[in-house]
Amino acid sequence: MRKTIFAGILSVSALTFAGCGSDDAANTAGEDGNFEPSKTIEVVAPAGSGGGWDTTAREVARVFGETEIIDENMTVINREGGGGAIGWAYVHGKEGDAHSMFVASPPLMFVPLNGQSEHGHEDFTPLANMIADYGAFAVREDSEFEDLNDLFDQMKDDPESITVIGTSAPGSMDHMQFVRIAKAAGVDPTKIKYVSDQEGGALTAVLNGSVDVFSTGVGETIEQVRAGNIKVLGVTAEERMEGEVLSEFPTAIEQGIDESFVNWRGFFGPPGMDEAAVDYYEAKFQELSESEEFAEVREKYGWNEMYMGSEEYSEFLEKEKEEIASLLEEIGLGQ
């Protein structure tokens, strides 16, 4: 996909700003052990414009600026390619830089686990998690399936009869969130038929009956549910979500399937970021997360609040990665 040139313009202006900052103070903590950014902060979206990472990065940078929680400029640049790998490699090369960070979500685990990136979450400095999104499993409105158990029972009897479609490649998020819930319901995870459509045809294929189930994010389903085109059999959230349509979606847990999946989204710094800088950003992200302005942003995009500080985030990610790795191994993917 074609990339933004405005990001280029922004990065040029970032360089200009950076040139104005005093370099001696740039990468070190102040004398009292506190850190204050001294030049423009570069936020990398490892994807093209318009997607989830890009939107999150831009909204966070905008609200940080408007609320003046962080006084320095924040500029978002896009580094697209390899499902994130190019952007991660770019940030990885900025070891110790306290004025650089990137936005990430579960692909930061899936992509390296599938052998497509040298860098995974453990190679970076987790700053804070900000939001949570959840997966949804949808079928056509006139489908015979009324809930997840209907679907999974059929899959247990005749796994070949059901095809699941998602936007990401096998072994990545749309696939694995389904595998995770289905396995907990007793479906043989090695027999799940999954096809990927990266050209925007996934929803189309569900609507015209070519495939049976759409595994996607809850946000992608709302308009179609309101229009009566599809129904959501279950979502991967732990508890009922709030919101006009969202609150109607039953969770897998409510349906007796004890499993969930969070599409977390947060920010990471380059490896070896100074501890004082981590503390600084952690506190600023918390302030942002609690602000009214950011609550409006969450509402606008249907995101859920899920703040985690650096340490908690690290532990959470470790646990997630372990689970995903063993699941990938079980279905014969992963490296």
Binding site: M1, R2, G8, G81, I86, E118, K193, G200, L203
Partner: protein, 500 residues
């Protein structure tokens, strides 16, 4: 709300002072960016997103739409004048547009492109207005088997894109297929021909290939032939005026391909690029004198130009009525909608009629603006050709590099541009045609994915392609288009033999 009432609401938005102003800004920015080789609608829309922060959504989106179709409108200029496609949707424009310019008919070629674009754009807005709600069901009727059949049908045209050796055309097409397999395979997540190089994981962007094979290769040819004055300094703009015969020749392709382009634009994944190729091939197939195609045929220029603009409006059908972005450009458009707090989808028409109809109404206006802006500019644009050759060559190379770099800000892509430039140059010298390569590259990737999706769905049974009427009928059309020319040739040979 019926369409008529809706359209009235739409015109209230579009014809307000604010509406007119933003349509005008949108189309001007779009045309200018589209004219630069390599910079196209995605860059143009991405530039405008931050500008629209905090704006009222209706005028902001009217402006964004203007940028989009403005860029497609302007994209033909550099294809025609320099053989350097402005955007991927205007690659096919160069096939006949550039030869016309070389023959000293640059002005005429630009005028034909502008008028064809205008008609294609306007016809498709009318179709969009009348049919958007109904067409959303067409957009979703294509499942993986039907996509496979559609792409297969497009590929049967490879032989008609070749001048001269069919074998060389086939070799070029196979090379195109091979190049499109590079990258991570979406169906398995396996890396293919990437040599572990992260820069190759996503494969090649279409524009790198198009600019390499056309613009860079053309520049090499210009350098090689610098003593040959075939493209001489006294090359004239030529008359802008189109004769009655010219208009008559255009009328057929334009009226047919406006519809074809629109319908292909409606299908998610097809878009302006595929539409322009299929329209070109379509016209060549039915033309009385197909041998003129590729040598400056008016039909060969009018067909892709009306089609790519029609496809642009068509692409708004799945975007506005289903919330499905059918292409990279409409995906960025969708992002722009969301930033403004508007969710495109089946309910947009009832929830936000002023936006739905405002965009449609503004397109009538935008297309008129584009025509009025572009026609008087033609003499100035054509002056590009009188820039001294060394300077012109440097400019083309520079713009190609900028265009490619703006795709991903990745220097690796620049090397790849040069690699494909060298390949294109070699193909020229050994007279392998570039269009079959390009066509195989565009259609091949989608065809493979659709085939394998179908195979997974059907558990490996090929009957999925003949079980439902849509893929079956598309495959039959493909078969007919393969067999009829062969049969006609066989019969004429036999008649000749009998008579001889």
């Amino acid at each position: 709300m019926d369409a008529f009432q809706g359209l009235l609401t739409g015109f209230q938005v579009a014809l307000s002072l604010e509406g007119i102003m933003f349509v005008l800004i949108g189309v001007i920015v779009g045309t200018l960016i589209g004219m630069m080789p390599g910079l196209g609608p995605i860059s143009a829309i991405a530039i405008m997103i931050p500008i629209t922060y905090g704006m009222d959504p209706a005028p902001a989106l009217v402006m964004m739409a203007g940028v989009y179709y403005g860029a497609v409108f302007g994209g033909s200029t550099s294809s025609i004048l320099l053989n350097a496609p402005g955007i991927s949707g205007t690659v096919a424009t160069a096939f006949d547009g550039y030869p016309m310019a070389q023959q000293g008919k640059a002005g005429k070629a630009l005028a034909i492109a502008a008028i064809s674009s205008f008609i294609g754009g306007t016809v498709s807005v009318v179709l969009l207005m009348l049919l958007a709600p109904a067409l959303s069901s067409v957009a979703i009727s294509f499942g993986p088997p039907a996509y496979f059949a559609l792409m297969f049908m497009g590929l049967t045209a490879i032989s008609s894109l070749s001048e001269g050796s069919t074998i060389k055309a086939m070799i070029a097409a196979v090379a195109g297929f091979m190049v499109v397999t590079i990258g991570i395979d979406p169906q398995t997540g396996t890396q293919r021909f990437t040599f572990g190089n992260v820069n190759l994981f996503d494969g090649f962007d279409f524009l790198i290939i198009a600019l390499g094979l056309f613009a860079v290769a053309e520049v090499c040819m210009l350098i090689l032939n610098r003593k040959n004055r075939s493209l001489s300094d006294d090359q004239k703009l030529g008359s802008l005026k189109l004769s009655k015969a010219d208009l008559k020749e255009m009328s057929g392709p334009v009226s047919r391909q406006s519809f074809v382009g629109f319908l292909l634009g409606v299908l998610p994944g097809a878009g302006a690029t595929i539409a322009s190729f299929i329209s070109y091939i379509f016209e060549k197939r039915i033309a009385k004198n197909p041998e003129e195609f590729g040598k400056g045929s008016i039909k060969g220029l009018a067909a892709p130009e009306s089609s790519n603009n029609a496809a642009t409006s068509g692409a708004f059908v799945p975007l506005l009525s289903l919330g499905i972005p059918g292409s990279g450009t409409t995906a960025v458009m969708l992002g722009a909608f969301l930033v403004l707090g508007v969710q495109p989808g089946p309910l947009l028409m009832t929830d936000r009629p002023e936006i739905f109809w405002g965009i449609i109404a503004s397109m009538y206006l935008g297309n008129v603006f584009l025509l009025i802006l572009n026609l008087p500019l033609i003499p100035y644009l054509a002056k590009i050709l009188s820039i001294p050759r060394p300077l012109l060559i440097s400019l083309v190379i520079m713009f190609s590099l900028i265009g490619v770099y703006s795709i991903s800000f990745n220097v690796f892509d620049l090397y790849m541009l040069l690699v494909f430039g060298a390949l294109g140059f070699a193909m020229r010298i050994f007279s392998f045609p570039a269009p079959p390569f390009i066509l195989a590259f565009i259609l091949g990737g989608m065809m493979e994915q659709a085939f394998r999706q179908s195979m997974t769905i059907s558990n490996g049974s090929l009957s999925i392609f003949v079980d439902s009427p849509l893929p079956l009928s598309l495959l039959l059309v493909a078969l007919v288009s393969l067999l009829v020319p062969a049969f006609l040739k066989w019969r004429s040979n036999r008649l000749a033999y009998k008579q001889g």
